[in-house]
């Protein structure tokens, strides 16, 4: 007997795809595989050694099974239908957009109708554009609101907020302008069912003469009613963000308890929906825009939770975790 278990082990652990793993399973545990071959030789053993021989083989078989099972969780599994025959007939094939993309497009469409462009900026940012130009100097307590992932501390980081795109926009474009921008942002947080270190933000910025809080609140309310329906109740209250002054916080009346208080809204009756306000004069000035002439507003919100509710997704990791799927044909 004496199969070389170390060699078998290294063979199994070297495998990277499921077909290769299946080949090894057949080689060792298949009907005509090594182990069955050795079992068939049990009769050739001396009578007094047959029991030990059988037990040893069973132990080796079990070890190989365990190794295969462990490796099966690590290998890249081949798409099941790769080995399947092509179907003769199927219902019409259709592709799909990711739910986050669908929502971003819905919002882009809304803002396009109001004359907005769409904007973008780098994901790897500098402290200057992520914080300082947004009125958050070094050692400002507001930095605690966002745990930062650094590439090269203290200068280079992964952007922590959609407002970073705003600071690029302000520095690159001359007013007047209206821009909306979806953007992925990063916070140094543990990943679990309800929290992620990657968030999808959506933000809008307007800079023009004579922009008012009424413009801001009316436009934001239009966005909420587009997303949540005309019966959504939103209140606008005073809130602090370093990059705006005055700051405005939109809260939506909790759709679970209609404002009476429940565990979803932590008994507040309201759910915080994002942040907004009139762009702080320091922010405009740092971008070379004269705040005596130009005023603007900015608002932003996270998309993840809303998209989860809309698509019936219960785990925030699903968006980027590989288990989000679409029915392949029109049923």
């Amino acid at each position: 007997m004496n199969p070389n278990l170390d060699q078998i082990k290294s063979e199994i652990l070297a495998v990277q795809t499921s077909p290769e793993l299946e080949d090894l399973r057949i080689k060792y545990l298949g009907r005509n595989g090594l182990i069955n071959g050795l079992f068939s030789k049990i009769g050739e053993q001396p009578v007094e050694k047959r029991k030990d021989y059988g037990q040893q083989l069973n132990t080796i078989k079990k070890q190989i099974e365990e190794l295969l099972a462990i490796q099966s969780t690590k290998v890249t599994t081949v798409d099941t239908l790769v080995q399947e025959p092509e179907s003769l007939f199927s219902l019409p094939k259709v592709g799909h957009l990711h739910p986050i993309t669908q929502t971003e497009r819905e919002l882009n469409a809304l803002f396009k109708k109001l004359g907005f462009s769409v904007y973008d900026s780098p994901i790897i940012e500098t402290d200057e554009f992520n914080f300082q130009r947004l009125n958050v100097p070094l050692d400002h307590p507001a930095r605690d609101m966002q745990d930062t992932i650094y590439i090269n501390e203290p200068t280079y980081l992964l952007r922590t907020q959609g407002s970073t795109i705003e600071s690029r926009l302000l520095s690159q474009q001359k007013p007047p302008f209206r821009c909306a921008f979806p953007g992925i942002v990063y916070r140094n947080e543990k990943v679990n069912k309800s929290n992620h270190f990657i968030f999808h933000h959506y933000q809008a910025v307007v800079v023009d003469k004579n922009i008012t809080m009424k413009d801001l609140i009316g436009t934001m309310d239009l966005m909420f009613k587009t997303l949540y329906g005309p019966s959504a109740i939103v209140r606008y209250r005073c809130k602090y963000y370093p990059e705006v002054e005055p700051g405005v916080g939109p809260d939506m009346q909790c759709f679970n308890c209609n404002g009476t208080g429940c565990t979803l809204c932590k008994h507040a009756g309201w759910i915080e929906m994002g942040g907004s306000g009139m762009i702080h004069p320091n922010v405009l000035e740092s971008a070379g825009i004269n705040p005596k002439i130009w005023r603007g507003f900015a608002f932003g919100m996270g998309l993840d939770r809303w998209v989860m509710a809309k698509f019936g997704i219960t785990d925030i990791r699903t968006f980027l975790g590989g288990n989000l799927a679409y029915k392949p044909n029109i049923l």
Partner: protein, 624 residues
């Protein structure tokens, strides 16, 4: 922060609104109230205090705001403390430049014991443990006025107290609760000539108040908030004191807190004042003078707010007004610009009076949408039309053999401090992400997949001023390599450019075929069709896979030839869509004698276990 209504009423005796109204009003004027609850006969509000309102980390600051909002008189609690005529001057030294103001005094013959019931309840409702009457009173004074205070047992530490930066004097420091902190040279500490007694964040065991304490020095102080914030981060210590001291606090409020604390100690712990008052305040703060136009609140808000109202609010807040120049009260460190004053006026006037139904109207401005975004949307539309599904994945990837690194291992960009440390690198290729997608779909036994991702890839280019480079990329996977090539050709025709020639192009990894190209430079290629179409909203369902897809075949026989589409639709109608993932016909076989048509139908079920799927399958295809 917790706010107990009965203690707030010390400052606002006429406050009699129901707690629901107070909760909502606090939120509207900027102090978001999560909830209020009735605990041990007290109404307790739970508030989120804005980081720029350090003054509202005390009852006094919140009462000032509510007094303006409700137009109620503000009253300070009575104090019995007054300056003493003792000649003894405390030998306190201050060598640190990080001290803004200290008020301190010695009290002798105090009696330390249990706190009165009202104080125990107050302390408990603020989620801290009652220690003894003296320690609890220092905390009480801090909660009332928002400025931390501390008491030293002078029998243990003498009166020779020094505020200094550590200068490497002591490396280890034991806090009141026994935690050992390793101090850094720059930390702000309170020492005597022999040892460190306290840090700016937390007191030390070696000078702590116990039941045997008789002589004490109390102090109320404010420090350079940057120093406190850095110490807090360096020492990994967050306390009620550090939360407050790292904000911009008002040195001119210290006398209020100090008098309150001294009075309460004299009242509840007996004792006599045994030193003159020590007041270190080297550089008095001067509030800014701000030019303010009373029509600005209307201009900013977009609604009419009378000028008289603006001035009335600012006066009630404690501002001094001379012509159009406004000097805010020293406690309001957040008021430095005209816009800050505008916010004050508008928040008290009420954000809820601003109409919500008047959004911006359409205005034609030049479209500054970058071309790359239009190209991305065009690609997405075309790929969806070719039957591809869009996936999104983590841009951070593992350090393993599945990682595809076309720019070289030396040029991987790594994160420095991600707590998700198993994923330290920014991807150099979307194929790394698609490989993981294949593995995930494989685990769920998802049939016949084809998908794409469009996103950023990252690499180091040390020749650039900013070496951290990123660019957009699109990557496709199809379970059938031939179809993948055909699709790229189709896409090339639709975009009027030859995509096959683009970099990095076709790629085989682990036996799977991919296609990836960088996008940024494509927008500059002549002939590219990239009509912006950002309004094209496609709506479709998506599913969160929680169990494997179960594949089952059925052979069904008919005496006549069937229309395959109709046949599939017939079976689709029989299966609850909640369980049916897909349905295809694999094979059709025609028998001549007797004449019959055999169809092999393959059904894919989800949201079902094996047994339930087989049962449903039999019901649908065998009529059982």
């Amino acid at each position: 922060m917790k706010l107990i209504l009965s203690h707030l009423q010390q400052f606002l005796p006429d406050l009699s609104y129901p707690p629901e109204k107070i909760r909502d009003d606090l939120s509207m004027i900027g102090h978001f109230c999560n909830y209020y609850e009735k605990v041990e006969g007290e109404i307790v509000f739970d508030l989120d205090i804005k980081v720029n309102r350090g003054d509202c980390l005390g009852y006094y600051g919140l009462a000032r705001d509510l007094s303006v909002y409700y137009n109620l008189p503000l009253q300070l609690p009575n104090t019995i403390f007054s300056a003493t005529n003792t000649n003894y001057e405390l030998p306190i030294k201050v060598t640190s430049p990080d001290v803004t103001r200290i008020m301190s005094i010695k009290i002798s013959n105090v009696k330390v014991g249990s706190s009165p019931d009202w104080l125990i309840k107050f302390i408990k409702l603020h989620n801290i443990n009652s220690v003894n009457n003296l320690v609890d009173l220092t905390n009480y004074a801090m909660f009332l006025y928002g400025i931390p205070s501390h008491a030293f047992d002078t029998t243990k530490c003498t009166d020779n107290i020094i505020w200094e930066n550590n200068h490497g004097k002591t490396t280890n420091f034991t806090t009141l609760d026994g935690t050992i902190l390793k101090l850094y040279p720059e930390n702000l500490v309170i020492s005597n000539p022999d040892k460190v007694l306290s840090t700016d964040l937390v007191g030390g065991k070696n000078s702590g108040i116990t039941d045997t304490t008789t002589d004490i020095i109390i102090e109320v102080a404010i420090y350079n908030r940057v120093r406190v914030r850095r110490d807090s981060k360096q020492l990994k210590t967050v306390t009620e004191a550090s939360i407050r001291l790292e904000k911009d606090l008002d040195p001119d409020t210290i006398p209020l807190g100090f008098n309150c604390l001294a009075s309460l100690i004299l009242k509840h712990c007996s004792g006599q004042i045994s030193s003159s008052l020590f007041d270190y305040y080297p550089q008095k703060t001067v509030p800014p003078t701000i030019a303010f136009s009373s029509n600005k609140p209307s201009q900013y808000s977009g609604i009419d707010i009378p000028s008289e109202y603006s001035f009335e609010v600012l006066k009630h807040l404690g501002c001094t007004i001379s012509d159009s120049l406004v000097t805010p009260p020293s406690i309001r460190k957040d008021l430095t610009l005209e816009e800050d004053l505008i916010e004050e006026v508008v928040r008290f006037w009420g954000y809820n009076k601003i109409p919500t139904n008047q959004p911006l109207q359409y205005e034609k401005l030049s479209d500054i949408t970058p071309k790359i975004l239009s190209l991305i949307e065009l690609l997405k539309d075309n790929l969806v039309a070719l039957g591809y599904d869009e996936v999104r994945s983590w841009p951070l990837v593992q350090d393993n053999s599945n990682s595809v690194n076309p720019f070289g291992l030396d040029n991987i960009i790594r994160t420095q401090n991600s707590i998700n440390s198993e994923f330290p690198n920014l991807r150099q290729s979307l194929i790394t992400s698609l490989l993981e997608q294949i593995a995930q779909y494989g685990r769920y036994k998802l049939p016949k997949t084809q998908y794409f991702e469009i996103g950023k890839i990252f690499y180091l280019d040390r020749q650039q001023k900013n070496p951290y480079q990123e660019k957009y990329s699109v990557a496709l996977y199809h379970n059938n390599p031939d179809t993948l090539i055909d699709n790229i050709k189709t896409l090339s025709k639709r975009l009027s450019i030859n995509l096959i020639d683009q970099k990095p192009g076709l790629f085989i990894k682990n036996g799977f075929h991919f296609f990836e190209i960088y996008l940024d430079h494509l927008v500059e290629l002549p002939g590219l069709i990239s009509t912006p179409n950002m309004q094209n909203v496609i709506k479709n369902s998506a599913y969160e896979l929680t169990s494997q897809i179960i594949t089952l075949d059925a052979n069904v026989v008919f005496s006549e030839k069937q229309d395959p589409q109709q046949l599939l639709q017939t079976y689709v109608a029989k299966i609850n869509p909640q369980y049916l993932w897909n349905l295809v016909i694999l094979d059709v076989y025609e028998d001549s004698a007797p004449k019959q048509f055999k169809y092999t139908v393959r059904a894919y079920y989800y949201n079902l276990d094996d047994k339930s799927a087989k049962k449903l399958h039999q019901q649908v295809f065998s009529g059982e």
